[in-house]
């Protein structure tokens, strides 16, 4: 036994092992960056940087660092450089573990004037709510899921049981584009949908318009004119050219009425699928390409080939024999004969314990351009103080630090939403201290040239 531990110790103190560990770290990191370029940071983190391999290499690294230092005991003055650098690395790694296990790294998006106390973090949850005919929606279950490392497949689905029902997840796409399709149905609860084409010599537009059965009308604004799909109760608006479509129940016909800007009825009549009529202005014709008296919107996801900010992760699942897609940050209603369930696939939110109010948000531009030169948020903290958060000027409050991270604009280029990144890092000072030792140690190397040369034991 003593023999084995002695041998193990001598392996750990060998510089050859150190070289191998260093190279292994380098190779793993390099693979990680390829994953990140191909997919995104989260994907690379889950599959490489936080993988068992990486932890394994890190543990061997720490053991080697400790063993080498023990081996050199008692330390002499000339060992200072290498001892400091190695202790620095160990402390930095411990700091990183603290950050990983106990830290918070999330984001908070506000509209101007909004109050928030919840931070969105990277962890993902599946949640199910149920309503059983009494109008009340109750949470049934909430579960954290990790699909990057363990993606569900047809053969090995992830099953989420609740009550007598279950949902089977059969596919996970980390990056996918959302696509919508409108499909004819025969369910009483579904609303109508029309696919129409507006044409004249200069214009050729094709659009779907669909109305939920609960809504009285749906408007599609096409610039010079609006198309309305209504149940007949819609009142024409002044100042817009409008085409109002009203399906005639129990037939395949649609009534249409065209109003000009001063609310004059220009023309009216009935139209069926693949028929067209003159709208009466700009030589426009409206053709009904498809008409579904009952329809529903089917959401599917298409795998994205490269990374794109618009692509996000999505799940395909089965419920009572029917297939559905759900994207991250959305919810979907599922019906049975007597009850309704809501499935949500969301990033987890945690309460920071106090509210913040976004009072104002401003963007500074480079002269004569629309390029942002700076941006800043004015927030109010619970103690009533107003603080400016700008790039490189974070707010520290209640154990959290709030950084200006990004913003969203509306179509007119006016700022709409300010995004702060929120952070709580208990490992910070360990990492700083460790880093300081590493730098100090490596600078000292120049003074103690032979510090690392092991005194040969005779």
């Amino acid at each position: 036994m003593k023999h084995i531990s002695k041998k193990l110790f001598s392996v750990l103190t060998s510089i050859k092992l150190a070289v191998i560990v260093i190279l292994a770290l380098a190779v793993l990191s390099a693979i990680g960056t390829i994953y990140e370029a191909r997919y995104d940071a989260e994907y690379a983190q889950k599959l490489i940087y936080q993988s068992p391999y990486m932890y394994g290499v890190m543990i061997v690294l720490s053991l080697t660092l400790i063993a080498v230092m023990v081996d050199r005991w008692p330390w002499k003055k000339r060992h200072a450089a290498f001892v400091l650098a190695h202790i620095g690395i160990i402390i930095t790694l411990i700091g990183a573990v603290f950050t990983q296990k106990m830290g918070v790294d999330g984001s908070m998006a506000f509209r101007i004037g909004e109050t928030k106390n919840r931070v969105t973090i990277k962890d993902r949850d599946l949640a199910v709510y149920g309503s059983f005919g009494d109008g009340e929606v109750r949470p049934l279950l909430q579960k954290q899921v990790e699909f990057v490392t363990h993606p569900p497949t047809e053969k090995d689905p992830y099953v989420l049981p609740f009550g007598s029902e279950k949902i089977e997840f059969v596919e996970y796409q980390h990056l996918a584009f959302r696509e919508e399709k409108i499909i004819a149905s025969d369910r009483e609860a579904d609303g109508p949908a029309v696919r129409f084409q507006l044409t004249n010599p200069n214009v050729n537009m094709t659009e779907w318009i669909r109305r939920e059965s609960g809504k009285s009308s749906e408007v599609v604004n096409l610039g010079p004119a609006s198309v309305v799909l209504s149940d007949g109760s819609y009142q024409p608006q002044e100042g817009v050219n409008e085409v109002i479509l009203v399906p005639v129940p129990k037939t395949d016909e649609i009534r249409y009425m065209v109003y000009d800007k001063s609310n004059l009825l220009k023309t009216r009549g009935k139209v069926k699928e693949s028929q067209e009529f003159d709208v009466g202005w700009m030589g426009l014709k409206l053709k009904v390409l498809r008409y579904h008296p009952k329809s529903y919107k089917q959401v599917t996801y298409q795998k994205a080939e490269g990374s794109s900010p618009l692509a996000h992760s999505a799940l395909r699942f089965r419920f009572r024999g029917q297939e559905y897609w759900i994207g991250i940050g959305s919810l979907i209603r599922l019906y049975t004969e007597d009850s309704m369930y809501v499935l949500a696939y969301v990033f987890r939110q945690i309460d920071v314990g106090f509210p913040l109010i976004l009072k104002d948000f401003q963007i500074g531009h480079y002269q004569g351009t629309k390029r942002a030169a700076s941006y800043q948020s004015l927030v109010e903290t619970p103690d009533g103080k107003e603080v400016v958060i700008s790039m490189n000027e974070p707010l520290k409050y209640g154990g959290f630090t709030f950084y200006q991270s990004s913003f969203e604009q509306d179509e007119m280029g006016k700022p709409k939403v300010s995004v702060l990144s929120v952070n709580h890092d208990p490992g910070r000072w360990l990492k700083y201290f460790g880093s300081f030792l590493i730098v100090l140690g490596s600078i000292l190397l120049f003074y103690f040239k032979k510090a690392l040369a092991r005194p040969r034991k005779t």
């Binding site: 370029a37 004569g368 490189n392 991270s405």
Partner: protein, 545 residues
């Protein structure tokens, strides 16, 4: 150069004749010094014009004419240019998509605008943008055409650049929006310009143009909020920076110094050594002067894009070269340093499309200059140390190939120098990475986020750390030092260039670019082959012995 249409050819020839027949007078200098506002900063018309010809024509000069002159005619007589082949299209895939002649490089604006396929590929580009996808080289080339045609149209309509400061706000007034009295002055100016550059242009005509340009500049300077004198000074310095081209003279001087040094290695005359020293030192002074100018003009340290780092790193290489030459008493170090400096600075001159020399305003997150300065400067200067080790490694491998025994002394000193370089590099890189972590923590609240740029810097550090540790075990001796310093530099190339130009991912996106991948890959592959060859030859010799 091939012209596609006879009409275009004739007009083009006439215009070229017109322009080249002009003896450049002081009026040209006046035109070049005219301050304009473009892309978020105030610059001389000279710079604006150079950037415009760079974008449209692919060069910072237009044949033998000054860009300022040519771009001015783009503004005042756009109709003369519409059928001239001046729009550069290089991407063969794009040419194919547009049914353009493959062997041709320049096309006229009319030809492109009436191309029935153009709206289609612009539509595809728009789709990519809406999906916010990364643009591949094909779509980057399409985007360039969009920018080229856009710029020519905007110039013709008088919508760029800004010529006069406004009374309120920060957006300068373009020709279209100038007040009547300034517009009138400009029209007179344009007429004189056209008269002066023609065959009939007389000395009086040129003198008149010069006066009118001065007059226009004075009127513009006093308009609205006015232009501050220090901005005008900066504008003049920028014209000087453009004209003097310090980095060109710097590499010429480095090259001379290098030749002297090589001569000294072969012949060993003291005057050759002194000559080498003097020229390398002059090159270094010019290099320093050029960077000082750029820092003054940009108002920030020159490390915000690839061009600037390719200028800054060899500066560090030469600095380390001087220091190590003193310590190690080896000409090899200085020769390597001068070779790298010459190489890098020639590169910045040769490839303006990849290494964009324009001065751009910074992204918001980079505007905290202190942290930017420290972390980027330190990391890039560590690259300088590794670069020097790399060149020394190349040289040493050459000695190993020639005769290991005969050059034992050079090899020993060379390996010592490489070791020093790697030590300096490792300390600086470690410090730089940590400072980068501090900056990231300070700006984003994340000390380490596995961002590809920082990860590759770490990989390079780990690679060199492995070499230094392997040296302790005796795995790596003189030959190993030479080999690993050459191969290890591939990691630096990946961190420096590859992350931005090949991977193109992560938070450091403000430095992203395209182009040159085949050359850089070729450079790396050639060195790997070189190392393999020398290793094989050496192994064969050892076996025989």
């Amino acid at each position: 150069m091939k012209f596609n249409k006879p009409v275009g050819r004739v007009i083009f020839a006439v215009i070229l004749g017109l322009i080249s027949s002009v003896a450049h007078g002081d009026w040209l200098s006046e035109l070049e010094h005219l301050p304009v506002q473009d892309a978020g900063r105030i610059k001389p018309f000279d710079t604006f014009a150079k950037e415009a010809t760079q974008l449209v024509y692919g060069k910072r000069k237009f044949n033998n004419s000054s860009s300022a002159e040519v771009v001015f005619t783009w503004m005042v007589t756009p109709e003369l240019w519409s059928s001239a082949p001046i729009v550069e299209v290089r991407h063969s895939g794009v040419k194919e998509a547009l049914n353009l002649e493959k062997t041709q490089r320049y096309f006229s604006m009319n030809e492109l605008m009436t191309n029935p396929k153009l709206p289609l590929i612009f539509g595809e580009l728009q789709n990519r943008r809406e999906r916010q996808e990364k643009l591949n080289p094909y779509f980057q080339a399409v985007q360039r055409i969009e920018n080229q045609l856009g710029l020519l149209q905007v110039l013709a309509r008088g919508e760029a650049p800004g010529f006069a400061p406004p009374a309120e706000g920060s957006t300068w007034l373009t020709l279209k929006h100038l007040p009547p009295e300034l517009q009138e002055k400009f029209v007179i100016l344009a007429k004189s310009f056209l008269a002066a550059i023609g065959d009939k242009g007389t000395a009086e005509g040129k003198a008149k143009l010069e006066t009118e340009l001065k007059d226009f500049k004075a009127a513009v300077t006093a308009h609205g909020q006015g232009i501050a004198p220090d901005i005008l000074t900066k504008v003049s310095w920028e014209v000087h920076y453009n004209e003097f081209h310090p980095f060109l003279w710097s590499w010429v001087s480095y090259l001379l110094g290098l030749l002297f040094m090589v001569a000294y290695m072969v012949r060993g005359h003291a005057w050759q050594n002194n000559g080498g020293w003097v020229f390398i030192f002059i090159g270094f002074l010019l290099h320093t002067y050029g960077m000082a100018l750029r820092i003054y003009l940009a108002g920030r340290p020159p490390v915000s894009n690839m061009y600037e780092t390719v200028v800054w790193v060899p500066w560090g290489v030469v600095l380390f070269g001087f220091i190590l030459e003193r310590i190690q008493k080896s000409k090899l170090v200085l020769i390597s340093a001068a070779a790298i400096a010459t190489f890098c600075l020639i590169l910045t001159d040769l490839a303006p499309a990849v290494l964009d020399p324009s001065l751009h305003p910074l992204e918001p997150v980079l505007r905290s200059t202190f942290w930017l300065t420290t972390h980027v400067l330190i990391i890039t200067i560590s690259y300088a140390a590794f670069f020097l080790a790399f060149a020394l490694g190349d040289l040493l491998l050459f000695y190993f190939l020639k005769d290991e025994e005969k050059y034992a002394k050079q090899i020993h000193i060379g390996a010592q120098s490489i070791y020093r370089c790697l030590q300096i590099g490792v300390v600086l890189l470690a410090a730089g990475i940590i400072l980068g972590g501090i900056w990231a923590d300070y700006s984003w609240g994340r000390f380490w986020g596995w961002d590809p740029k920082e990860t590759w810097a770490l990989i390079a550090l780990l690679g060199y750390l492995a070499v230094l540790h392997a040296r302790l075990t005796g795995w790596v001796r003189s030959f190993g030092m030479a080999v690993t310093s050459v191969l290890g530099f591939s990691l630096v190339i990946m961190a420096w260039y590859g992350v931005n130009f090949v991977l193109g991912a992560g938070l450091h996106s403000y430095g992203f670019g395209a182009g040159g991948v085949e050359y850089v890959t070729g450079f790396v592959v050639l060195h790997i082959l070189y190392v393999t060859y020398v290793t094989t030859v050496r192994y064969g010799r050892k076996k025989r012995a």
